[in-house]
């Protein structure tokens, strides 16, 4: 199997407290993968380590066999929505254009082509008519879609997304899922930090369970088991798999799992 991302023996510590411990994770090309785990499990850190954004104590990450620094153009990143100041004086189109800055290099300025590409990316997330809008006027779901458009405009092969469903309404969540599935259908590899256990079997085909150590990773069908979930969440979650069907009791469990 061809791996898009390979993580070997990755250990990350903040001031001696390990956040990730000896993680080995291979992400095959073309999967739509979720990373799930309790708060403080190191999900965001894992994504940031893949992107070279945190100092690692040990271990290696390679993107298609080479270090990230050599493969930047292959990776698109969607950070957590709350990580930036949405009152920054800039427009929606301008934020999306930032996705092209890497390809433009140090000195080239965005031109017509970049405007065109940004508009097309905004169209894909249904935000084309907001291109000139000041970003402080956006709702949470719209902010998330702008960030997605910024990653799309990077035209990458791998997309790393940190909680794209955080605080968005049901309509936006559906739109984002559809977009992720389109990306997978186009042969892209998508890795998503995800919080909602109940939707994992429905949305994703691959998953990694993380709690500082990697508990398991693989196809959702084989890995997303009650046993593994108990190992990940420390037995505090009672979760029954319904073969991908959502039932009323799922909703209750969702509330339970969300409380962890």
């Amino acid at each position: 199997m061809k791996y898009a991302i390979e993580v070997e023996d990755l250990t990350v510590a903040y001031k001696e407290k390990p956040v990730l411990w000896d993680v080995d994770l291979n992400v095959p090309e073309g999967v739509l993968m979720s990373i799930v785990g309790p708060n403080g499990a190191g999900k965001t850190t894992l994504i940031k380590a893949m992107l070279g954004l945190v100092n690692t104590a040990a271990g290696r990450v390679s993107i298609y066999g080479k270090p990230y620094s050599k493969q930047r153009s292959l990776v698109g990143y969607v950070p957590q929505r709350g990580s930036v100041d949405w009152d920054f004086p800039t427009s929606v189109g301008d934020v999306v254009m930032m996705g092209r800055y890497g390809a433009l290099g140090w000195l080239k300025r965005p031109g017509k082509r970049e405007v065109e590409l940004s508009l097309r990316a905004l169209e894909k997330v249904g935000m084309a008519k907001y291109a000139d809008r000041q970003i402080s006027q956006l709702s949470g779901g719209q902010q998330q879609r702008v960030f997605l458009a910024r990653a799309l405009v990077q035209d990458a092969k791998i997309y790393l997304m940190d909680e794209p469903f955080q605080g968005v309404d049901a309509t936006t969540e559906r739109a984002i899922v559809t977009l992720l599935q389109e990306l997978r259908a186009a042969g892209k590899t998508v890795v998503v930090v995800h919080h909602d256990l109940q939707t994992v079997p429905e949305y994703f085909d691959w998953t990694a369970l993380l709690n500082v150590r990697l508990i398991a990773s693989g196809p959702v069908d084989t890995v997303f088991t009650e046993e593994n979930l108990r190992l990940t969440y420390g037995g505090r979650v009672s979760f029954i798999k319904h073969n991908g069907h959502n039932t009323d009791s799922d909703q209750e469990k969702r509330a339970e799992a969300g409380g962890i």
Binding site: L51, Y77, P79, F88, P89, Y101, W106, P110
Partner: protein, 379 residues
């Protein structure tokens, strides 16, 4: 002094021209680069840098015995830089928070600077005179070569800012994302911080170390009120900085014994206050008007709805009702007569008897629309 003679002096009076040019340069540079400090929520860093520059100025003078502005500015820049580095490393390596580290370093450096200044002033030779001008600034003491030094430093800073426009935008908005694109964010942070140091030290002679940070923060905060785009904000901020710098410096040079720094700061504060109140969209005055207009419209619509629902109970939309009933229905007791008069002017209600009112045909139509829209919004 009338405007024409002031203009005449600006063009032909050497001192006044030098002062105006120098303060314009200082305003432009600190206004433009201050925008980044404000947007990156580092407003107080400018304060620490400028206060920390004082010992640098004193040491540069003690070492070289020269009062050439380039030498003193260099000393100021180095001291400001060291202070910034210390603050950053305190935050990185200890549990002390940013604001605490900032306050500590600011006062330690400034205190040290004051001690050095006192020592210098007690020395018997006469050359030391004038160093204390760096506390509150004195534009009138600017020489042509000072202005040239300031202009060169400022041009370099502005040019660097324009070259790294994209990178600085990423750094200010989303540094992590910028790093994933391959830009060395820490290096860019150092470059931008250096530019802000340059902006500060070019203004020290004119504004002084105590109040220089106002020139970093105030023009940018004023500019932010007027625009929602980075480019226009930086341009406006530079313009506001120049305006405040020139007017403050001219005022202080024409009125004797008026310190320049505080005068410039008062000018820039006036710009900030005006901007906060008057700027469209963000300005307080406009949003007050908007709120008032909306409240007024909502009250009239509420009145129409009340009349309509009353009329429905009589199966006749044009049925008339006494004011007293409307007063009971209205939450705002005082406004009923006023609202009815306004609605009458718009032809939506008519007075049937002295105290009885009814909807006109247009009024009925209007009320129906309001109710329909209201339901639509609820869904």
């Amino acid at each position: 002094m009338d405007i024409l003679s002031l203009l005449n002096d600006l063009l032909f009076d050497y001192t006044l021209r030098t002062v105006a040019l120098g303060s314009a340069v200082l305003g432009i540079v600190s206004g433009a680069l201050g925008s980044y400090a404000v947007l990156r929520k580092q407003s107080l860093l400018g304060d620490a840098m400028s206060h920390a520059a004082l010992p640098g100025i004193a040491i540069a003078f003690l070492l070289t015995g020269s009062k050439i502005s380039l030498v003193l500015i260099l000393g100021a820049a180095i001291a400001g830089w060291i202070a910034t580095l210390i603050i950053m490393s305190i935050v990185r390596t200890t549990r002390i928070k940013y604001d605490t580290a900032l306050g500590m370093i600011l006062s330690v450096f400034f205190g040290f600077g004051l001690v050095l200044l006192t020592i210098i002033q007690k020395r018997p030779d006469a050359t030391q005179a004038g160093l204390d001008k760096f506390l509150f600034g004195q534009a009138a003491a600017l020489l042509e070569r000072d202005v040239i030094t300031m202009a060169i430093l400022g041009s370099v800073a502005i040019a660097t800012m324009l070259v790294f426009w994209k990178q600085f935008k990423l750094l200010s908005f989303d540094p992590d994302f910028g790093a994933t694109l391959g830009f060395p964010m820490r290096f860019l942070d150092v470059v931008l911080t250096t530019l802000i140091v340059i902006a500060i030290v070019t203004g020290l002679q004119t504004v002084g170390v105590v109040l220089m940070s106002a020139m970093i923060v105030a023009p940018a905060s004023a500019a932010r009120q007027w625009t929602d785009r980075l480019g226009p904000m930086i341009f406006l901020s530079a313009a506001f900085g120049a305006l405040a710098g020139v007017s403050g410096a001219l005022l202080s040079s024409s009125i004797s014994r008026l310190p320049t720094g505080p005068t410039i700061v008062l000018c820039v504060s006036a710009i900030v206050v005006l901007s906060i109140f008057l700027a469209p969209a963000r300005g307080l005055v406009w949003s007050w008007f908007r709120d008032r207009r909306n409240r007024g419209r909502l009250r009239l619509e509420g009145m129409l709805e009340d009349l309509y629902s009353l009329a429905l109970q009589h199966k006749d939309p044009g049925h008339a009702h006494p004011v007293s009933v409307l007063r009971l229905m209205s939450a705002d007791k005082g406004g009923v007569d006023n609202s009815l008069r306004k609605l009458e002017e718009q032809g939506l209600v008519r007075r049937v008897k002295s105290e009885d009112w009814a909807l006109t045909k247009e009024g009925i139509e209007h009320a129906r629309q309001i109710i329909k829209l209201g339901v639509g919004e609820g869904q």
